[in-house]
Point group: C2
Chain length 380, copies 2
């Protein structure tokens, strides 16, 4: 293999390829990036247990002198290309043992691996794509993925569920204490119900960060392939049935209280400063519970008691309040703050159905986005 | 105690006070900030094992209703004031048990500590100051402190030595593998030789970041007090005799090679990408040794061999070269990169006196700044 390529196009593609490189892997060969140069194209492939990525560079900024195939140490290759200032880079395999990277007055030799050892990646066949705008995927991920479970106790909950029926796509994430749901209209010939690992979606969003056209989606039972331009991004799907969350969301809300979103968020942030901390590490206890009370005088109070440090209390004047009785609920301030961040609306509503029943958050400008939080039982 | 103060002036002063708060301390009372309101002034004090800070706020933006003294939980107090948006803040001690912080519609109650338990801080008496411009101290710290020892094996080396004799101040930092030295002229009635903990200097520089006038310095045997505006910043000094480094710096340099600083730094950065890593953590081994060779053809080569990954080699054309023979030296790329960052000059010179003798770096625009690095013996 011997080729010359402009540094910018190589680096741009390596940034995408890096999404498929494993952080840790028992298969040493997967720490490498497969390079495959034909007469006209340079293919690069990476793969880890969740994600496989392939790019196909066929560009006037690439000149292939000798086709060939090799596997180069991934992180080192990327780090070197990143730091090189030269406009052009020559890549040449010597003796089937080393890749020589030449750029200006620099020369880097990397021990290569045997391309025969690189596992064959089965990409889903590209028939009959489902087309979705990149920005639709990006906004769904931003609005929901934070609510997926971090723990592996119920693996299916670490993913985002996409359930499509009659052109209505419902995206749902839940860790069983909160839920984020976005509904969008798409044009799909087939119904489907898949659950995608949240980390794969986050990597996909980084890869398509500056891409705003259509994505092509292809499914099998256990894989999703996303293609755009010259990029194939494939992720495994999570096994198992996603729980039916439709009955979780209450239908009736006797209490609806509206706030300026930023005012609510900054009051909650301040109050949660005093939420209990782990004494040994001085870190906040993960769920930092706060109390939310609607008082008789129709004023809302957000508060928190910390027996070691003190108390915090903020009064808020809702922009609107529909209720017939005072109520106090307790919940995680972190959950509320993360949910609030998902809205673009400046005014949001808390829709409350009872002290220990889930409440939901909606925004006027965020149609079809629902954030749900399960309160905790308060002692006082 | 009962007072009202504008949030901005309080926060600005708490930022300075935070430099004296301990990260960890066996004395619980020192996690607090001492507040002492007289009829006219609010004093705030913090102290840890190295640093004590006191500010004296006497400002039209402060109104004291009732004088008093208390000790408030430091980090919580600062965090709350930081997050408050309101322009004015009321601080009121209730029942000698709690400090009530009121701001707009928020109310925070912090358990306070007994001011009688707070240790008396002995600040050095303020007679006969040595006056130094803040920017002189800031540039000395930036140019030298990185070379102090990180390990506590020889405690004196964790500090910056300031040796003043006949109005010539020599600032020296060394970890015994490299040395940074800056010489400046000052007007001092007395000679002195003190060693200041590097962490104290870094905190001082943060505190005086936006201050550019004179600082007043006062010494005793084991303390340095720096005052400016309404701030007293005191640090302990390190015990012991600082080693005599004057004989470390060679006098004659048969080889002088000049480079564009950024070209040299970026070549060294690239080559050091392949310096050996710790397999278990994938972290670079701290000293990442590279080879620096002046070849027969007067070209300079920077290189590095990593048996696991491969080799790196960069050729550099010096902007000037005085030598009579080829030479190869090996040294830590990290030391060189940190040293290069301390220069404002665009062209720097490496002054070499032998394969295993210290070499020094100087810059045309950085008069009186010397960076010295001790090479390591190379096997090949």
């Amino acid at each position: 293999m011997n080729l010359t390529i402009e540094r910018d196009i190589l680096l741009e593609n390596l940034n995408i390829i890096s999404k498929g490189l494993p952080v840790k892997t028992p298969m040493h060969i997967l720490t490498g990036i497969m390079l495959y140069a034909t007469d006209t194209d340079l293919f690069m492939t990476s793969s880890n247990s969740d994600i496989s990525v392939e790019v196909d560079i066929a560009d006037s900024r690439l000149q292939i002198e000798t086709p060939g195939k090799t596997v180069v140490p991934g992180r080192f290759f990327i780090d070197i290309i990143k730091k090189i200032n030269s406009r052009k880079i020559n890549l040449c395999v010597s003796d089937d043992k080393i890749l020589i990277i030449k750029a200006d007055r620099g020369e880097y030799k990397l021990h290569i691996m045997d391309p025969l050892d690189y596992p064959k990646i089965d990409f889903v066949s590209q028939d009959n794509p489902l087309k979705i705008k990149a920005e639709v995927i990006k906004s769904i991920v931003k609005e929901t993925v934070f609510a997926t479970a971090q723990s592996e106790k119920k693996p299916i909950l670490t993913g985002l569920n996409l359930n499509c029926s009659s052109n209505k796509l419902i995206a749902t994430a839940t860790d069983s204490f909160r839920l984020a749901q976005k509904v969008v209209s798409i044009e799909s010939e087939n119904d489907f119900n898949i659950t995608i690992p949240s980390s794969s979606l986050e990597e996909l969003c980084k890869a398509i960060d500056s891409y705003n056209e259509d994505l092509n989606l292809y499914f099998t039972q256990n894989k999703l392939l996303v293609t755009y331009n010259h990029v194939c991004f494939q992720t495994r799907l999570l096994d198992g049935n996603y729980p039916d969350t439709s009955r979780l969301i209450p239908n009736e809300f006797p209490i609806v209280v509206k706030f300026n979103k930023d005012e609510l968020a900054s009051a909650v942030e301040r109050v949660s400063l005093l939420s209990p901390r782990d004494k040994t590490t001085d870190k906040e206890i993960t769920f930092s519970i706060i109390k939310f009370s609607i008082k008789k005088d129709r004023i809302v109070e957000i508060s928190c008691n910390n027996t070691n440090i003190g108390d915090a209390r903020e009064e808020l004047i809702p922009t609107n309040l529909e209720t017939n009785s005072p109520i106090t609920i307790g919940f995680s301030s972190r959950y509320l703050l993360e949910a609030l961040k998902s809205f673009i609306s400046t005014e949001i509503s808390l829709n409350i159905s009872g002290e220990i029943r889930p409440f939901i958050i909606r925004g006027d400008m965020d149609s079809n986005l629902t954030q749900l939080i399960l309160p905790v039982r308060m002692d006082n």
